[in-house]
């Protein structure tokens, strides 16, 4: 999203962001067991709220996750990545 800057912790993850219809899609490569554990915690957090269509997590082979986030949930998801130290910094442009 154009009004937000974030810095990825490349020792933990690689992240690619793109548009998926009206939503935003993240393709995340989890480089360590620790980062995999952290993304599982993030998923658990989102899936425990019983809202099923705000964010979708798709685990893929080779420690990759595809995450589709509704536009309204974009900032909150990035903040979650930051909280779990998968991002180094996040700021408004």
């Amino acid at each position: 999203m154009k009004d937000l800057n974030y810095e990825i912790d490349h020792s933990m993850i690689d992240l690619e962001e793109r548009q998926n219809d009206d939503d935003i899609e993240f393709l995340i490569h989890l480089k360590t067991e620790e980062s995999l554990k952290r993304i599982r915690h993030i998923r658990e957090f989102y899936e425990s709220d019983k809202v099923y269509t705000d964010i979708y997590f798709y685990p893929r082979a080779n420690h990759r996750y595809q995450v589709i986030v509704k536009y309204e949930g974009y900032v909150s998801f990035l903040l979650k990545l930051f909280q779990f130290k998968l991002l180094k910094s996040i700021s408004w442009k």
Partner: protein, 426 residues
């Protein structure tokens, strides 16, 4: 009709009206109705407790405990994704496999639990395929009600019938109901595929994404998975053997549940007791006491004798009457109170000289379970899924549901009618 019978009938009908109106929670209404039965002296407390079927309650509680722990392992999501990959993400094939998973799940687990397990993964897969989740959700609703009819533990009416009629074993339910349910499933699935076929298309690129999913990542706790699946499997084996073991199904379910709690540790104790649907359990308690008022004042035997007079005690007419009456009643009202009322009525028919009650029990089961597909308000699973779907931005309105649900119900009940006639009445 004596004064007591009159008061009991009024109380019963009033309770029914309040349950149907849904203005007050059905559990509160049923429990208050039951309390009034005792306060007005229709039945005393001892008699009321005597009428509560603790086997039904124990079976429900035991299965709720086992399923709530098993659900935590992610196994249901694993199965759904694995199946989606097997059919290469083709939307129509996916509709069939998700329906079958729901039907099989519902035949051994509670319908509401089953749909709650399959609905999240349905949203997820439908989003990835860029198709509407509604055809899938509606098929899952129908299949949960149909699949639940196949076994004694699949749907509350069957649990109640199995508990009330000691001569019917777990195996009897499968051998008598599963064959017709398989036929019903084939016809209903063909109908649903026909209805939804134009909405179920996905491009090769998005289908490829399904193939790339890693279902193994869905299993959150392997040790817990092994423990809970072992106990679930042993419990189901126990159901198959319950008559030869001389054990009630509730004993087996509760035994399995507490063995699982023993091996998983106390940390799950609080969790599972929060997951038990106590409102449903107390709804049953209230209904059993309410119906006891009708039984003890002779109303049920009067209705039974009137029904026998109407049908001339003829088995075919009585069976078909029960089948269609149960189906239409269950489309409009909760099938649990209806079946709670019909069980003593059919028993009384037996005491009045009808010798072969078996076709009547199967008619009641098939009618009450399959009738729930007719309308949105016909079964708890319908309301739960429609509620979730609406909340997520995919509304399933009463009319939209009815347009597909009524034909599904009629197809199912017609097949059941032919089956009952061919198997038991000629």
């Amino acid at each position: 009709m004596g004064n007591e019978a009159f008061v009991a009938l009024i109380l019963f009908l009033l309770t029914y009206v309040f349950i149907i109106s849904e203005k007050i929670h059905r559990t509160i209404v049923a429990m208050l109705g039951a309390a009034f039965m005792i306060v007005f002296g229709i039945v005393n407390q001892e008699m009321a407790i005597h009428h509560i079927d603790f086997n039904t309650l124990g079976l429900l509680i035991g299965m709720m405990i086992i399923v709530s722990i098993t659900a935590e392992t992610g196994v249901f999501r694993f199965i759904a994704i694995w199946a989606a990959k097997k059919v290469r993400g083709r939307p129509i094939a996916l509709l069939v496999v998700f329906s079958l998973i729901t039907a099989v799940g519902s035949s051994f687990l509670d319908n509401v639990t089953t749909v709650l397990l399959i609905v999240p993964v349905t949203f997820s897969i439908a989003r990835e395929l860029k198709v509407s989740p509604i055809p899938y959700l509606m098929s899952e609703i129908f299949m949960s009600n149909i699949g639940g009819t196949a076994t004694m533990i699949g749907d509350p009416p069957n649990i109640m019938i199995g508990s009330a009629v000691k001569s019917l074993s777990f195996m009897d339910f499968i051998t008598n109901l599963a064959p017709v349910i398989l036929v019903v499933m084939v016809f209903v699935l063909l109908y649903l595929v026909f209805i939804f076929r134009k909405k179920l298309h996905a491009g090769e690129d998005v289908r490829q994404r399904i193939q790339e999913l890693n279902e193994k990542e869905e299993i959150t706790d392997k040790k817990l998975l092994i423990k809970s699946l072992s106990v679930l499997l042993l419990t189901i084996v126990g159901f198959f053997l319950h008559q030869s073991l001389s054990l009630e199904t509730a004993t087996i379910a509760l035994f399995g549940a507490f063995v699982l709690l023993l091996i998983t540790g106390e940390s799950y104790l609080e969790f599972v007791f929060n997951r038990i649907e106590w409102t449903t359990i107390f709804f049953f308690v209230g209904l059993f006491v309410l119906v006891s008022g009708l039984v003890e004042t002779g109303i049920i035997s009067n209705v039974a004798s009137f029904s026998i007079k109407m049908t001339g005690g003829e088995l075919t007419t009585t069976s078909f009457l029960i089948l269609w009456l149960s189906a239409f009643a269950s489309a409009f009202i909760d099938n649990i109170p209806f079946v709670a009322t019909m069980i003593p009525l059919i028993k009384d028919m037996g005491e009045m000289g009808m010798t072969n009650l078996e076709p009547l029990w199967w008619s009641l089961s098939l009618g009450a379970c399959l009738g729930g597909n007719g309308l949105l308000i016909g079964a708890s699973a319908n309301l739960i899924v429609a509620g979730l779907s609406g909340k997520e931005g995919y509304p399933i309105s009463f009319v939209r549901f009815m347009k597909i649900g009524i034909p599904v119900m009629i197809i199912s009940v017609l097949i059941s009618m032919i089956y009952i006639y061919l198997r038991y009445l000629i």
